[in-house]
Symmetry: C2
Subunit: 484 residues, 2 copies
Amino acid sequence: MAGQLRGAARILGSWRSYCSKGQQEKVSADFVEALKAVVGEPNVSTAGVVLEQHGHDESMHGCSPPDAVVWPQNVEQVSRLAALCYNHRIPIIPFGTGTGLEGGVNAIKGGICFNLTHMDRILDLNVDDFSVTVEPGVTHKALNYYLRDTGLWFPVDPGADASLCGMAATGASGTNAVRYGTMLENVVNLEVVLADGQILHTAGRGRRFQKSSAGYNLTELFVGSEGTLGLITTATLRLHGIPEATIAAVCAFPSIQAAVDSTVQIIQSGLPVARIEFLDEVMVDACNKYSGLTNAVTPTLFLEFHGSQQALQEQVQRAEEIVQQNGSSHFAWSKDPEERSRLWTARHNAWYAALALRPGCKGYSTDVCVPISRLPEIMVQAKKDLKAFGLTGSLVGHVGDGNFHCILLVNSEDADEHHRATQFVKQLGRNALAMNGTCTGEHGIGLGKRQLLKEEIGPVGIEIMRQIKSVLDTKNLMNPGKVL
Amino acid sequence: MAGQLRGAARILGSWRSYCSKGQQEKVSADFVEALKAVVGEPNVSTAGVVLEQHGHDESMHGCSPPDAVVWPQNVEQVSRLAALCYNHRIPIIPFGTGTGLEGGVNAIKGGICFNLTHMDRILDLNVDDFSVTVEPGVTHKALNYYLRDTGLWFPVDPGADASLCGMAATGASGTNAVRYGTMLENVVNLEVVLADGQILHTAGRGRRFQKSSAGYNLTELFVGSEGTLGLITTATLRLHGIPEATIAAVCAFPSIQAAVDSTVQIIQSGLPVARIEFLDEVMVDACNKYSGLTNAVTPTLFLEFHGSQQALQEQVQRAEEIVQQNGSSHFAWSKDPEERSRLWTARHNAWYAALALRPGCKGYSTDVCVPISRLPEIMVQAKKDLKAFGLTGSLVGHVGDGNFHCILLVNSEDADEHHRATQFVKQLGRNALAMNGTCTGEHGIGLGKRQLLKEEIGPVGIEIMRQIKSVLDTKNLMNPGKVL
């Protein structure tokens, strides 16, 4: 019954609308009592509205509610709950803030959703060692607020105020990655509860070194594993010094090619740019309308530089020279916080401006990543494909590392449009693969890109991934149906 | 017989002296003929002197020669040779330049040594995308020579002119890691021949993106796996822009604490230092004597800054302020190449200066990595332990990431001294573990640190590593007896 409902919903494209009924068929009342015995009655729910809330993320994938939601308070409870599920062969779905973009939390085989947000302590801050350990309820904004007087910050920022352990699970990155790296470069150690309840410290308990070559890299194996190998219950992170000063800049270009050429030259010249973001003319136009701006309606780069006052001045001068050589006619910059914020308004409001392109429609962001030199070609092709598929969409890119998003505006009641959007996403992924790229730079595989992953990695790699999964999750209970 | 010889050699501590006899017992003449059929007769050797050359690296571990050495010319030959070994259950040992420091190439169970240095092509250089692909015979110096006119370079430099695929296999880093990362951050994709001859592309064939969140991170799983999971036959690497200018600096401190405090403050202030190296007073004294220098015989930092002319000037000023606040009385710097080289003479010649401390003795470098704040404590303890064990040694550190080496001078004919050196290395590793550190920051586990790895990772992690190994290498043929 649940399966039929899900299938029907997918065909109709009406995600989230059908799933408020709850899906208790799969777990017995006795099992729910056993969950309550571990975490206490108030920390277990089978209420329809709660299950619905936990059955989807921000993606286009139809809601698939779990059979129950539990809120463990500590790692011991997570371990006991996992062991309980393991013994009863019931799926386990880790849940942070639900802000994922590829259906990573959707309980497509039912099971127990582990909402980890009650575990929200910040542990073991070591300012001199640039490290901190956080539980899954801590978001990147909460951590940076906590760090505000230490001179340090955590720069990985995927846009949404996601949980840091969730960001580790999806291999998140965002606008600062070109300077500070992604989660991969900034996770030092993870505490993970495996499907059977065993507790693993990927780099050994309590370890927080800057580098190691001791044994196989289990930490990076779990970064980006999307909850399919275990539940991340703490993440030890690398912190960075807060820059003395920041300069923001905006510049408009005659073509995508000119914007990308500027990006390559800026990076190649060794300018330590902190952010370098691209909006296409559709996105700039939408932002102008949404925020009452007067940016030139052409491909545009938004830059940010971090450093000392003196170093920044020079960096901006050199960047301006480079973009002017590439035909940029407008180059505005500022170090004043308010003016900086104004300059970046379009980038900051891009998501909402995109939504305003088709009021009442749902926004869906897909991402790919290609070698930087191929960006103009794939972006121009994406714009052609949008037209060919009869879709509304705009392009936003972390162009410094070849990663960009297409924000699609889709009428969720229109099954045909939903289907065309799905086909466009596949086509975009395949175009990226044909250019030596990847089908996802930062959103992950989740539900929708499993076929693309097969094409990307090839049969030998997929088989190794399967075998690794089977070693760590012998009964295939960890977030089943995702990634592989 | 071979095993007895090896055991005896280990007890006597007389490495390399006994093993020129060859160890052909384990492979039949027919098998050697089968190897020749794949690679041609001149590319197979069972000559004693050749086997001896391939039975050890630069470490203290006794020579264990393979049964034969093969020189494949391409990946197809590697694959066919591996399949041959797999079918006959014969161990496979990958060999690059033999410059490892933990016995990674020693054929402790005999088998076939795959010398990969004939595969030395540089493929697929993409200047605009900051990437290049290299075969195992390409060293980091050879690559940088090849790149000299492109404006790009590959910064990971472990000291020895090691092969880049070997550096990927051991998770190497070196002096530039504090700015540019280790091999982990600079390997984009690997082609790997598995034990059974299958060819894996860890990120998919031909892919060379800057980041990805597609599936499990197989690339990082192979980085640092020390040849125990497969033979790396190409590495796709991330390149960096050559800095416009370089400044080198040297400063002497009243104590290790003052040097480390300066390091922490320099990094925390966001100064993008490219190298920050430490020598203890024993090492400085040895370097003075070896190279006729007059450096103050106290703990000393060697710094290098990369950037634009103008930015560097400011960086050096700020670094000077910080080190002076920490009691440094001497701060010398230069941007002139010859003068820079002179300032860094002590650091560059440290290895040979250390050897000159006890002529005729063998130098053995061991490494650990701890949170930076614990560096003074562990370095002071290491100096005490050297005395307690009656050993001669000096400390050299990549202190920017908490990693340091102790260079021991050991009389290889003195079994007791050899034993004490081994015990000291274990003690240093355990001290690092007690301070939340790792038993190796960049040399790897190899033969000598397997027990320390167990203590570092704990039983759950070790069991997962074992299972991953068993999935990828079902017959335990890939470099057996290393890491686990």
